[in-house]
Amino acid sequence: MVDPQLAQYSNTLFNVAFLAYIVAMVCYFFRLAFTRVSAEGVAASTTAGTRIGWLATGLAVSGWGVHLASVVTRGLAAGGRVPWGNMYEYASTMALLVVAVGLVVVQRRLSYGHLMGFVLAAAVLMMTSALMLFAEAGPLVPALQSYWIKIHTSAAMVASAIFIVGFAMTALYLVKDTAERRVAASSAYSGSTVGAGAIDAEPRPQGYEAEADLMEVEITSPLAQRQALSPVLFPVVPGLVVALFTLLVWRAPAAAVIAGSVAALLGTVSWYAVPYLPPAAKLDNLAYRTIAFAFPIWTFAIMAGAIWAEEAWGRYWGWDPKETGSFFTWVLYAAYLHARSTHGWRGRRAAWIGVTAFVALMVTFYAVNLFVVGLHSYAGIS
């Protein structure tokens, strides 16, 4: 049964984690500014950068612990069920997974700790949306009372969280690649790192060949890359996109302004951070590996959903808006993976497909549940 006291604790813990993430994000961005990355992807920080990096990591890790406690108490407060029974809980748990993927994979395994600021930004935006979707802790309606909620929904959340991290990498790749190309075009000194044998290329018809050496891209002139990009478009475009999306979905002008400003700030940070980002080829590869990891999980989530639908409603697939949404998201990510191995589509075009696929994922999660409300029985609660 619902325990209001425990639910209150869960909300407090959520807010603490939210603040910790925001501060950690700022620290990570400071750390980024104190970092230099060479073509091999080796990051070097100044002493101040290292210190602030430790602070950021500490905050992110402890924030994650608090967040985990919030999610667990929420489940307990709602009568000992899974803590992803409505959109607020789903968004919160997804943010938890995004931070986990960021800390474990991006920072620890791949040693791209200086990109963590962007991962945390995604988590913070996710948690903001969770706050806007807030619903009191409550029990599950009969349609959700099945062990499939543990299998299907958790798979969808894990895949979405990894896709979100993948999107952060894709967006950074596009930014970095643009900068590299423009600098190359103006100086004719060094080109984009993409296509230089660094990416996970598919077989060439000639058969086995010696790999070309990585083209050395020196971070000699940070300002050149930054100057190659427009300081106006970078805040304006993401700001407008996010503000419009928020306005369309929630019809809340104030929220749209706040979300838009946060996105604009992120745009400015990524503009400022361009010189310190790893080479475009590395980012592209990272985005690909992340998305390729999440894709089978997403596939499994859709299949588990179909099995559940067959068990609960007597049809495995009914082109219900949520099903349709997950389907076009799947198709677009499949298109990304195919484009990545198709001559003439690799690189930027594939990355734009990845961006489209991510937009589809967000539409499936937010817009379908909020916009198309009333079309299907689980709108607003799943």
């Binding site: 049964m1 409550g138 029990p139 309606v141 009969p142 009372q145 099945s146 499939w148 996970d200 290329a201 598919e202 077989p203 086995y208 060949e209 010696a210 790999e211 050496d213 590869n285 390729a292 990891f293 894709f295 089978p296 596939t299 499994f300 299949m303 179909a306 099995i307 559940w308 067959e310 068990e311 609960a312 409603w313 007597g314 049809r315 495995y316 009914g318 082109w319 808006p321 349709t324 949404g325 389907f327 076009f328 198709v331 677009l332 499949a334 298109a335 993976l337 195919h338 484009a339 198709t342 001559h343 589509w345 589809a360 539409v363 379908v368 916009f371 198309v372 009333g374 079309l375 299907h376």
Partner: protein, 526 residues
């Protein structure tokens, strides 16, 4: 595939003849279409078209999913307007997934997939049987290592072979007597990819079988009542094209009892609802009081009975003051906020001959109380039910093929109103008619379905995943170990190259090098 087609030999141009460009003949057009379909870019464009269709179908209501909203878009009550609705109808946007152009899109994708897969099968069949080729110019490869060992060349190669035992191996000997071990691994990448794509044909077969040979029906039953599994036993059904009506099992399912409970803290959210069903087949009771609830269907002889809907079904009796019973039936009500509403025709009448049509409009308040003259519903449970009965007589449009709730019953046809408690009755129409609220059973709505071929779909799902994972993670790589006799010992060259996942191969190469070095008892990085 960008090469241009060989042109037909230019026809003799008549003097002052046509300057029109050459029109490719039917064969050239077919070949060109086939080549276009086989291109990966085409497949990508088709995938985009598929995604676009799905996006449209998300935001335009779909008739098979939610017919009522589509109707309100067509009549202009909701949606962007009737002009748009006509356009949507012309483009089949209200039924995207049943439209001819969606079918054409899927067909094109399948043709494109086939065109892509057939040559790949052939190439894979060849490549999979091929022995690893001998390596040349090993020192030019990025992954390349020279080691020295105190054992002879043959023993060194044997040691390397033990390390690389999980690879496909081949020993070669060059003309100059250099012995080489060539190894290869990672055919699973292509095999997985082929399996993944082939599984979509299995999926298609499964979908076709389920839809062609399956059957789905809807039935609403009042407590104490029953339905029989025959063609006439259901209120709505959607049989597959090849469904044979003789396949109905003919059993009878009795709804013994229906129970719904609500959450105490959120009183209008049901916590559970369950029907108890007894099945009788050929005069024998085969299943007794089995619970049917959401997520837990009852399966009997391949027919699945799902709990779908429920509601109140107050039993209404109408009789004349002389005691002639005119009507006695439970009326199925559906939920609308805290109320339960429903309509029923009492007498079909014949307005043309001056016989009025008689209908009744009901509203049930499960737990009613009157506070300050306002009617309130305190809980969804039938603790203190009240039934508001409105009797209509006149031309009610009962002959129209429209559902009763959508009919517009005029105020002037209202001939009587009463608020009844269970067991209570009231006189209406100047005391000529007695209306009684006899009892308050529940009704339960079931979806019954027979769906052969689900196993094929499950198999397709398993194949898709089983193919997908190796197609993304496995990678093809080759390595060569060459040993040259140098005095007592030998010089060993290890080299390798990967076609995909190069960073992963870099790690693997390091590991293999260390293992071979250990096997040769040489210091690392010599």
């Amino acid at each position: 595939m960008t090469e241009t087609l060989p042109r037909e030999p230019q026809a003799e141009q008549a003097p002052g003849g046509s300057w029109l460009p050459d029109i490719p003949g039917p064969w050239e057009t077919a070949v060109m279409a086939w080549r276009w379909l086989r291109r990966m870019s085409t497949a990508l464009v088709l995938l985009f078209a598929l995604a676009t269709a799905a996006v449209l179908a998300t935001f335009v209501p779909q008739e098979p999913v939610i017919a009522r909203t589509v109707d309100s878009w067509r009549t202009g009550v909701a949606g962007p307007g009737q002009g748009w609705a006509r356009l949507f109808d012309a483009l089949s946007l209200f039924d995207v997934f049943g439209s001819w152009w969606f079918m054409a899109l899927v067909a094109l994708l399948l043709i494109s997939l086939t065109g892509c897969l057939v040559p790949r099968y052939a190439a894979f069949w060849k490549a999979a049987r091929c022995q690893p080729p001998a390596g040349r110019n090993l020192d030019r490869l990025t992954h390349h290592e020279v080691m020295r060992a105190g054992i002879d060349a043959e023993a060194a190669l044997a040691a390397a072979e033990r390390v690389l035992r999980r690879y496909r191996r081949r020993r070669t000997e060059a003309a100059d007597g250099t012995r080489q071990l060539a190894v290869e691994r990672g055919h699973w990448r292509e095999a997985g990819s082929l399996l993944f794509h082939t599984a979509f044909y299995v999926l298609l077969v499964g979908v076709v079988i389920v839809h062609a040979f399956g059957w789905t029906g809807q039935v609403n039953v009042v407590e104490g009542d029953a339905f029989t599994d025959t063609t006439l036993g259901y209120q709505a059904q959607s049989p597959g094209r090849f469904w044979d009506a003789a396949k109905h099992r003919g059993f009878t399912a009795h709804l013994d009892d229906f129970d719904v409970s609500y959450y105490r803290q959120q009183p209008f959210v049901p916590s559970a609802f369950v029907s108890r069903v007894t099945i009788e087949d050929q005069g024998r009771e085969v299943i007794r009081e089995a619970p049917v609830r959401v997520n837990h269907p009852l399966i009997y002889r391949g027919m699945k009975i799902y709990q779908a809907r429920f509601g109140f079904a107050p039993e209404l009796v109408m009789r004349t003051t002389d005691g002639v019973e005119l009507f006695r039936a439970p009326v199925l009500l559906t939920q609308s906020g805290p109320f339960w509403l429903g309509r029923e025709k009492v007498a079909p009448g014949n307005p043309a001959k001056g016989m009025p049509q008689i209908g009744v409009d009901l509203a049930l308040l499960p737990d009613a109380s009157i506070v300050d003259g306002q009617i309130r519903v305190n809980s969804p449970e039938a603790r203190n039910p009240r039934l508001a009965v409105s009797l209509y007589a006149g031309d009610l449009g009962l002959t129209q093929p429209a559902p009763l709730p959508s009919l517009d019953w005029a105020e002037r046809d209202l001939v009587g109103q009463a608020m009844l408690r269970p067991g209570g009755s009231a006189e209406m129409v100047n005391g000529n008619l007695i209306v009684e609220f006899a009892s308050l059973p529940m009704w339960s709505g079931f979806q019954v379905s027979h769906r052969p071929g689900l196993g094929i779909l499950l198999l397709a799902g398993i194949l898709i995943l089983a193919g997908l994972v190796p197609s993304l993670y496995s990678y093809r790589r080759r390595m060569w170990v060459e040993a040259r006799q140098r005095g007592d010992g030998c010089e060993v060259v290890l080299a390798g190259v990967a076609l995909q996942r190069k960073p992963a191969f870099a790690e693997e190469f390091q590991r293999i090098r260390d293992q071979i070095a250990a096997a040769l008892h040489t210091p690392r990085g010599d």
